[in-house]
C-alpha cells in the first residue's frame, strides 16, 4: 500500500470516491424507487407504497410494442455488426498493409463522432437516395455505431491470440476456414461474445439515431420514454425506466456470474 487510507490524504481520496459512487448511482436509484410511491406525481424519497405504477407500466401495450421494436433492432444490429466486425478485426490483426492504421482509425471513429451529426447526415442521405426501407434504416445506422464496440473488444483478444496454433492446424491439413472456425474462434469466443453484448446494449439504449430514423409509428423504447418524459411526469414512465434498469442489472450480474463460473471451471 503506497498511501495509508487512514491518513488525512487517504481519507480525502476515499471520501471523494464514496461521493462519486453516490453521484453515479443516485439518479438510477431514483427511477427504480420513485414509482413505488403512492402519490400521483413522482417524489424521491417516495411517500407511501404501491405497486400500481409498475403494474400500469407492465400492462401498457405502447411500452410492450416499443420494447419488441427495440429488441428486434438491437438483435439485428448486434448480429450484423458482430459478423462484419469480426471479419474486419481478423484481417486487421492478421495482415499488415499500407494504411492499416488509418483504416482502423476510420472504423473506430463513430465512437467519438457526435451521433446527432451522424443522424442528420443519414436522414438527408436516406431521403435523397430512397435507400433501404422501414426499420432497416435504423439498423444500418446502429450497425455503424456498434462495429466500433465489437472492434474495441475483439482487436486486443485477436492480437493476443497465439498464431502458431492456427499454423499448426493449417500444417495438419485444415483449410483456412476450418482453422478459423475450429481453432481461432473457440479461443477468442469470450471477446466476441463480450463485443456483441456491448453492441446489443449500445443499440438498445441509443436514442438520437432512433429519434431521426425509426419507422414512423414504431418508435423504440428509449424514444417512447423520451417523448413521454417531455410530455409530463407520469409515474408509469418512471416505472418502465425502473424495469429497464433492473433488467439491465440482472443481465450484467448474470453475465459476470457466468464468466466467473467458466473461469473457475477451466
Amino acid at each position: 500500500m503506497t498511501i495509508a487510507w487512514r491518513s488525512p490524504l487517504g481519507a480525502v481520496l476515499l471520501l471523494l470516491c464514496a461521493l462519486s459512487f453516490a453521484y453515479l448511482l443516485l439518479p438510477i436509484l431514483v427511477v427504480v424507487v420513485a414509482p413505488f410511491g403512492a402519490t400521483g406525481y413522482l417524489a424521491f424519497p417516495p411517500q407511501g407504497w404501491t405497486l400500481k405504477w409498475y403494474a400500469a407500466a407492465v400492462s401498457d401495450t405502447r411500452y410492450l410494442a416499443a420494447l419488441l421494436v427495440s429488441l428486434r433492432i438491437a438483435l439485428a444490429s448486434a448480429l450484423i455488426a458482430c459478423v462484419i466486425g469480426i471479419a474486419a478485426a481478423y484481417a486487421l490483426t492478421r495482415y499488415d498493409f499500407l494504411g492499416r492504421r488509418l483504416l482502423e482509425a476510420i472504423f473506430l471513429s463513430p465512437l467519438i463522432l457526435p451521433t446527432l451529426v451522424l443522424a442528420v447526415g443519414l436522414t438527408l442521405f436516406f431521403t435523397r437516395t430512397g435507400l433501404l426501407q422501414g426499420s432497416w434504416r435504423l439498423i444500418a445506422a446502429h450497425v455503424i455505431i456498434c462495429i466500433p464496440y465489437v472492434l474495441r473488444v475483439s482487436l486486443p483478444v485477436l492480437r493476443r491470440f497465439d498464431r502458431s496454433l492456427e499454423e499448426a492446424a493449417r500444417n495438419l491439413g485444415a483449410s483456412p476456414f476450418a482453422a478459423f472456425f475450429l481453432v481461432v474462434l473457440p479461443v477468442v469466443r469470450p471477446g466476441i461474445v463480450a463485443g456483441t453484448v456491448l453492441a446489443f446494449i449500445t443499440s438498445f439504449d441509443e436514442v438520437v439515431l432512433a429519434l431521426f430514423l425509426a419507422e414512423p409509428g414504431a418508435p423504440t423504447l428509449p424514444v417512447t420514454i423520451y417523448s413521454a418524459v417531455q410530455l409530463g411526469f407520469e409515474p408509469s414512465v418512471a416505472a418502465i425506466s425502473g424495469l429497464l434498469v433492473l433488467a439491465t442489472f440482472m443481465v450484467m450480474l448474470l453475465y459476470h456470474l457466468l464468466s466467473a463460473f467458466r473461469r473457475q471451471r477451466d
Binding site: L9, S20, L24, F44, A88, L113, L118, V143, Y226
Partner: protein, 273 residues
C-alpha cells in the same frame, strides 16, 4: 483473402458513414447556384449562435472539470486498493454506462424539480433560503451530464493508474517525499497523457450530447446539439442544420485527432520499467 474479409466493413462504412457525412458537408456549403457559404455566414454573423457555441464549450469544460475532480480519486483508489471489492466496484462504475442516457436524465429531473431532493437538501444545509429550481438550468444540465460521462473518465484513468508501477510511489516516499508530494510529482505526472486523453474524450462527448441537454435543459439551455435538432426536426431548415452539424463535427474531429495523437504517443509518456 484479406480483401474479402474487409469488403463488408468497408462497404458498410462507405455507404452509411462516409457518403452521408460527405454529403452533409456538401449540403451545408451549397445553394441553388453552387458553392456558397451563406449558411456559415449566417451562423458566424449572428451573436445568438456565438452564444450557443460559447455555452456548449463552457458546458464541456465544466463537465470535464467535474469528472476529473471525482474521477481522479475514484480511479486511483480502485486501481490501488487491494480489497477484493475493488473489482466489484469497478463493475458498478460501468453499470450506469449500460443504462440509457434518457433514463439517467429522467432520474435527475425527478431530483431537480422545485420540491425535489436537491432543493430540500440545500434548504436543510442552509445554503439557500427558499426552494430552487435546478430543472431547466445550465447548472442542472452540467450536473446530469457529468454523471452520464463520469464512468468513462473513471475507466480511462483506472487503466492509466494500473499501468503505473506502484513501486515508483514507494521509491519517492522512501526518499522522503510526503504522500501528497509523491502523488503529485510521480503518479499524476506519469498519468498526464492519460488524464489529457480522458479529458478530451469526455469533453467531445459532452459537447455533442443531445438527450441530457434536451430533457434537463429544455429551451433555456440551448446548446449546439439541441440547436441542430431544432433547426432540422422542428424548423425543417436542413441546410442550416447541416451547417451547424458540420461545425460541431469539425470541433469534435479536431479534438479526436489530438486524442489519437496522444494515444499514439502514450508509449513515450509511460514510465520505463
Amino acid at each position: 483473402m484479406p480483401i474479402l474479409l474487409f469488403a463488408p466493413c468497408v462497404l458498410v462504412y462507405a455507404i452509411f458513414f462516409i457518403w452521408p457525412q460527405a454529403s452533409l458537408l456538401a449540403i451545408s456549403a451549397s445553394s441553388k447556384s453552387g458553392l456558397s457559404f451563406d449558411q456559415y455566414a449566417r451562423f458566424f454573423g449572428d451573436g445568438y449562435y456565438w452564444e450557443i457555441l460559447g455555452r456548449t464549450l463552457g458546458m464541456g469544460i465544466a463537465v470535464t472539470a467535474i469528472t476529473l475532480v471525482l474521477g481522479l480519486p475514484t480511479a486511483y483508489v480502485l486501481a490501488r486498493s487491494q480489497s477484493r471489492w475493488a473489482s466489484l466496484l469497478l463493475l458498478l462504475t460501468t453499470f450506469p454506462l449500460l443504462v440509457s442516457a434518457v433514463v439517467r436524465s429522467f432520474g435527475w429531473m425527478v431530483l431537480f424539480f422545485r420540491d425535489g431532493l436537491v432543493s430540500r437538501v440545500l434548504l436543510m444545509l442552509g445554503l439557500i433560503d427558499r426552494p430552487v429550481q435546478t430543472m431547466y438550468t445550465m447548472t442542472g444540465v452540467i450536473i446530469a451530464l457529468a454523471q452520464v460521462l463520469l464512468p468513462l473518465m473513471v475507466l480511462t484513468l483506472h487503466g492509466v493508474f494500473k499501468s503505473i508501477d506502484r513501486d515508483l510511489e514507494y521509491a519517492a516516499m522512501s526518499l522522503g517525499a510526503r504522500p501528497a508530494v509523491a502523488l503529485g510529482l510521480v503518479t499524476l505526472r506519469l498519468a498526464r497523457g492519460g488524464i489529457v486523453a480522458g479529458s478530451l474524450l469526455v469533453f467531445s462527448l459532452a459537447i455533442s450530447a443531445f438527450a441530457t441537454p434536451s430533457l434537463v435543459g429544455g429551451a433555456r439551455a440551448n446548446v449546439m446539439a439541441t440547436a441542430i435538432y431544432e433547426q432540422t426536426v422542428e424548423l425543417l431548415d436542413w441546410p442550416f442544420g447541416a451547417a451547424l452539424a458540420a461545425i460541431l463535427l469539425v470541433v469534435v474531429l479536431g479534438l479526436s485527432l489530438a486524442y489519437g495523437a496522444l494515444i499514439e504517443g502514450r508509449g513515450e509518456l509511460e514510465a520505463p520499467r
